[in-house]
């Protein structure tokens, strides 16, 4: 019997480096993208908890009108720290952490293109976080995360906290730029055989776009804060109107970075959702090309809309109109994504596992955030709504209901791959429902508060109309939301040691990160299979099923009976 038997795909890890006992000091020297990814994710989650605590303190202060729990100074410090932390120390680097861990696995690479640069990105991020939080022991910054000049100059903000804020932007910005270059180089050059651009997982498409946005936007803010630094200490007057500088220039530079930053924070989340929905609907993603194209379109348009944060400034009418229309235009590719996601669920068989719940919750909340964004794009309407709690509600619907919910979806989806153990579904669902309802209770009412005339960034308010009641509702909601987050923290703490063993492919997913053990060996794959579609893992499972002709073979994910040959290269 000399007939040729084609090989059956299986996970081959016999050449994997043995798990040498590594001391805790190895975390300082590691260049493994997976361990760096874990460092990123754990660090940023700690900052998320810090930023969340600051938010709860603000909600406590606002729980009653004319409250005196914190002083105006402390309140200004709280919202400055909260906003800065969530943007620069949580959402952006958390996405970098997810990308670090999963991009090489998803494209069948053994590490990032520049492993040592990768480690440097992480340590710069941590340095930025430490410099920033060190200011808590002296003078925390208090000019808001937007740090508008001239309030942020040395005359109005003499404290060192403002400088700590500048150094945070420098350090995390450099971290992001280096990380983005690394991710771009990795995706462009290290894809598995057969993985053409048209077969790139949508999460990787999102990370590619995220990288490009960072490379274009971050240098602008780096330049702007450097100008602010020299204004503060070295006698320049870039933003000083009393010496011929322009206060408006700061707003232009800040938002030229700030608006793409919004997409830097949300596009990877879109990518996560585009990966998770097909897995739990058991159906291919609907309109792969449209989703990938809309990601790129959003990124491009994101650079044309910054002045919609400046509708209330002295600015020519032609610009107001242009920016309103370009902001409208962004709603089109965003809408396309939402329609495609719903169409992905349509006629599928939706399994309500926790990752799917967070994705569905994300879509429902993001629809609200997207629609309230259209209100804000109509500039005469924005004249009434900007700088009020309506805007606070809007940004939290897109960043908390948006980005953060996708981060939680990613945690529940990929935790088994990172640790080899499953998170508890029961606790996961409790966490989701607490977070979902807590979020709605906290932020839905804030639209009304804004319409009733409550500006943001005020430490107290008069009890006119129902403002006291609305604020109480919002405060109660924020604690429910916090409880939901805490349940996930407990879930993770519990499952790291004692969760159910996951196996290589617990969700029967579509992408290559599941074609290796959980957690993956140091070199990820001994043998990288040839990619023939957008769903290589589905192809592999089908192949295994066909060759072994064992009806139960599918149930164990990609693992196949002993004796099967490894896939040919």
């Amino acid at each position: 019997m000399a007939t040729y038997a084609p090989p059956v795909p299986q996970i081959v890890t016999h050449r994997a480096e043995s798990a040498k006992p590594q001391g805790w000091t190895s975390w300082f020297t590691t260049t493994d993208h997976k361990r760096i990814g874990i460092l990123y994710m754990v660090t940023t989650f700690v900052f998320f908890l810090l930023g969340g605590t600051e938010a709860l303190m603000m909600r406590l202060q606002l729980g009653a009108p004319d409250n005196t729990l914190v002083t105006p100074q402390v309140y200004n410090q709280l919202f400055t720290m909260h906003g800065t932390t969530m943007v620069f120390l949580f959402v952006v680097p958390m996405m970098a952490g997810l990308a670090n861990y999963f991009v090489p696995l998803m494209i069948g690479a053994r590490d990032m293109a520049f492993p040592r640069l990768n480690a440097m990105s992480y340590w710069l991020l941590l340095a930025g976080g430490i410099v920033f939080y060190a200011s808590v022991f002296w003078n925390p910054p208090e000019a808001g995360w937007t740090s508008y000049a001239p309030l942020s100059n040395s005359f109005f903000s003499p404290g060192g906290g403002q400088d700590a804020w500048i150094y945070l932007i420098h350090l995390t910005g450099l971290s992001s730029i280096l990380g983005a270059i690394n991710l771009y180089a990795t995706i462009a050059n290290m894809r598995a055989a057969g993985m053409s651009w048209g077969r790139l997982p949508l999460f990787v498409w999102a990370i590619l776009t995220y990288s490009v946005l960072i490379i274009f936007a971050m240098p602008v803010i780096a330049g702007a804060v450097t100008m602010l630094l020299t204004d503060r200490h070295f006698g320049t007057h870039f933003f000083d109107p009393t010496n011929g500088g322009s206060a408006l220039l700061w707003q232009h530079l800040f938002w030229f970075f700030g608006h793409p930053e919004v997409y830097i924070m949300i596009l990877p989340g879109f990518g996560v959702v585009s990966e998770i929905l097909p897995v739990f609907a058991r159906k291919p993603i609907f309109g792969y090309k449209a989703i990938a194209a809309s990601t790129v379109a959003i990124a491009f348009l994101g650079f044309l809309t910054w002045a919609h944060h400046m509708f209330a400034t002295p600015i020519p009418e032609a610009i107001l109109i242009f920016v309103m229309l370009s902001s409208f235009l962004i709603a089109v590719p965003t809408g396309v994504k939402i329609f495609n996601w719903i169409a992905t669920l349509w006629r599928g068989t939706v399994e309500f596992k926790t990752p799917l719940l967070f994705c569905a919750g994300f879509i429902s909340l993001f629809i609200i955030g997207g629609i309230s964004g259209v209100f804000l794009a109509v500039f005469p309407v924005d004249w009434q709504l900007n700088e009020t709690y309506f805007v606070v509600a809007h940004i939290h619907f897109v960043l908390m209901g948006g980005s953060v919910f996708t981060i939680f979806a990613a945690i529940y989806y990929w935790f088994p791959k990172v640790t080899g153990r499953m998170l508890s579904e029961g606790l996961g669902k409790v966490s989701f429902w607490l977070m979902f309802w807590g979020f709605l209770i906290t932020f839905l009412i804030q639209h009304v508060m804004g319409l009733d005339g409550m500006p943001r960034r005020v430490y107290e308010y008069d009890n006119v109309g129902h403002l006291a009641l609305y604020n109480q509702i919002s405060t109660v909601g924020s604690f429910i939301l916090a409880l939901g987050v805490l349940v996930t923290v407990l879930n993770v703490a519990r499952s790291v040691k004692s969760g159910v063993i996951a196996g290589p492919d617990p969700w029967k997913a579509n992408t290559l990160e599941w074609f290796t053990t959980s957690p993956p060996p140091a070199n990820n794959f001994d043998v990288v299979p040839r990619v023939r579609s957008v769903e290589p893992m589905k192809d592999i499972r089908r192949e295994v099923e066909r060759r072994t002709a064992a009806p139960g073979a599918d149930s164990g994910g990609a693992t196949v009976p002993a004796g099967a040959m490894q896939v040919g290269v």
Binding site: P72, Q73, N76, E142, A143, G144, Y148, L151, F156, P241, A247, L248, A281, R282, K283, P284, G287, Y288, A312, T313, P314, L325, F328, L329, A331, V332, G335, V336, I342, A343, L345, R347, G348, T349, V350, E351, F352, A360, I363, S364, I367, I368, I371, V374, F375, V378, F379, P380, V381, D382, W383, Q384, L385, E387, T388, L451, P455, R457, V458, Y459
Partner: protein
């Protein structure tokens, strides 16, 4: 709804908001409905098999064009409303009798005025943490000596009031919700808006852009009174300021005689 009822531009913004809201509600119900329906109807059940569909070009082009059309409609509606929000209307017959435009602190081509060019021009100065209002009627040729007030702006009813918003220190934002939108007071720049109040009363607002620790307490009121009453108030304000200036002059003269007077100039 955003607050309205004080001035035509605020009313027009509220009505534009209402239009956007109705369109948004329809889209909200349809999209959330489709999501909810898909999640419920196509939940995993025994024997259910997922349809392996990868896309549908017609459908995708359809909803892309559909979304674009809705936004074009929104843009057209905004343009229709825009002129009544931005361009001040003429003062009513019972409004303040205005003569020319002499005595304002700054003249500008960007400032929008009613077709007749007549409006009560008030300069709004934002400063940490107080709003100052400078009225026309400078006593001296260089624009100095104009009557002014702090915190509460008194204006005549049925009169188009044109505001020139500036700042003396950091960025503030002028906002009286019932009288229209926000306009930032950026140091080094002029920003303009207008309002016309028909009902006498007090319209409350506050600074809407973070300006420091006292931001939350930087309140602003607009008190609308009949024109005759406004005239009387302005005259009274002038005498008060003249008296205060005279007192200050006397105090300065007294201090000037003391030894080391320079040290108390800026206590």
């Amino acid at each position: 709804m955003p607050q309205s009822g004080g001035s035509p531009n605020a009313d027009e913004i509220a009505s534009l908001y209402r239009i956007v809201l109705y369109i948004a509600l329809v889209i909200f119900v349809l999209v959330e409905g489709a999501l909810g329906y898909a999640l419920w109807k196509f939940r995993a059940r025994k024997g259910a098999v997922a349809a392996q569909i990868r896309g549908n070009t017609r459908l995708e082009v359809g909803w892309t064009v559909g979304a674009a059309v809705i936004l074009v409609v929104l843009a057209v509606l905004t343009f229709i409303k825009l002129s009544s929000i931005q361009n001040p209307s003429e003062s009513g017959p019972n409004g303040q009798h205005l003569v020319g435009s002499n005595g304002v602190l700054y003249a500008s081509a960007e400032r929008k005025l009613p077709p007749s060019g007549k409006a009560l021009k008030i300069t709004v100065i934002g400063r940490q943490y107080l709003w100052q209002y400078v009225y026309p009627g400078a006593a001296e040729a260089d624009g100095l000596g104009a009557p002014y007030a702090y915190e509460q702006m008194v204006v005549p009813t049925e009169t188009t009031v044109s505001l020139d918003i500036v700042s003396s220190d950091v960025v503030h934002s002028w906002w009286i919700p019932e009288l229209g939108g926000k306009f930032q007071a950026v140091p080094g720049y002029h920003n303009y808006t207008w309002f016309k109040i028909s009902k006498p009363g007090v319209y409350r607002g506050q600074c809407a852009n973070l300006c420091g620790r006292g931001h939350a307490r930087m309140i602003a009121d607009v008190k609308a009174v009949p024109p005759a009453q406004f005239e009387a108030w302005l005259a009274y304000q002038k005498t008060l300021i003249a008296e205060a200036n005279a007192d200050a002059k006397a105090a300065r003269a007294k201090l000037g005689k003391q030894i080391g007077a320079g040290q108390v100039e800026n206590p």
